[in-house]
Symmetry: C2
Subunit: 165 residues, 2 copies
DNA sequence: CCTTCCGCTTGTGATTTGCAACCGCTCGTT
DNA sequence: AACGAGCGGTTGCAAATCACAAGCGGAAGG
């Protein structure tokens, strides 16, 4: 529970691994970023990998403590909403590279691939646009919104691939 | 030991996490890619994070089984050399993004940062050059070599940052 | 009051980790 | 032939972590 562990090394790659290098943390963040899930039950019930509630609770706590998420508090029994912080939003390029790699080197479903393909084709420009979108939704930034949103486009790609299969 | 586990989902990001999403696998690959270590004892003794020999043995086995490394066999008692495969070489952009993120959002040492900074500044062009270099060293590809090598430059940046601190 | 939904917590056993010691093999030296 | 150093690991054990299922107290609606 209480791990104020000093890092194993001061290498930036190791720092990233210590922040989200386990089997669940990035999955949770992925669902918030791409799946637009912001509530506990939503994250648990819609999880395609089937995360257990205690693991989810633990990861959310750690992510809040490590500054990757904020929890907009609600009294017990109320819906508590989680929001991405700027460091978490800046994981978009990491997700894009992970998706590209998985796409190319592992067997994956064509429907779920569609998003990774689009994110790869869009390149850094699309990533930036998506990050601005996330800043608007999660940080309440006042940047002008574009239409259609990147997430709408990513979901459209997924649905198109899903429908045609 | 015997995990022929089917994947939790067919999502490309999840596939990447299942391949190297734990606290040690990427560390081992990082030391092979950037530290030019190719032998068991070398990987264990020079590890700044201090990996244990049983964990290292397990990860090397898994990486060979999953097609990210090859082991050039030697008779027992002989040095066995590990080489990167093409999928592992294509992790360079992933490492670059992880390094950039860790650099920006976690406390890290300026000396170890130097490599991540250079890799970031060089961008995709430098990543490609580095990947070609790795193909030459690990796959025996016949591409012409450039001088100085990317690794030499990365190490020079590290030493410069280390000397000045 | 009763049901439903909310974010979790609490067991329980199985798996994985970290640590240290040890092993069988080969090679170069004496 | 004997030795020591170096090679890639294995083994045993305790501690931490994980996965699965069930349950819990508060709040809101009927």
């Amino acid at each position: 529970m209480g791990e104020v562990n000093e890092p194993r090394s001061e290498c930036p790659i190791n720092a990233a691994i210590e922040a989200f290098g386990d089997r669940w943390t990035l999955i949770v963040l992925r669902d918030i970023v791409f799946g637009d899930r912001r509530y506990f039950r939503e994250l648990q019930a819609k999880s395609i990998e089937g995360i257990a509630s205690n693991i989810l609770a633990d990861r959310l706590k750690r992510l809040v403590r490590s500054g990757l998420l904020t929890r907009e508090d609600a009294r017990p029994g109320q819906r508590a909403r989680y929001s991405l912080t700027e460091p978490a939003i800046q994981l978009v390029p990491v997700f894009a590279q992970l998706g590209s790699w998985g796409l190319r080197h592992r067997p994956t479903s064509s429907a779920l691939n569609a998003r990774a393909v689009l994110l790869e084709q869009g390149g850094p420009a699309l990533w930036q646009e998506f990050m601005d979108e996330l800043r608007r939704e999660h940080l309440g930034s006042e940047l002008p919104a574009r239409s259609p949103s990147v997430r709408e486009r990513l979901n459209a790609a997924y649905l198109a691939a899903n429908g045609s299969s």
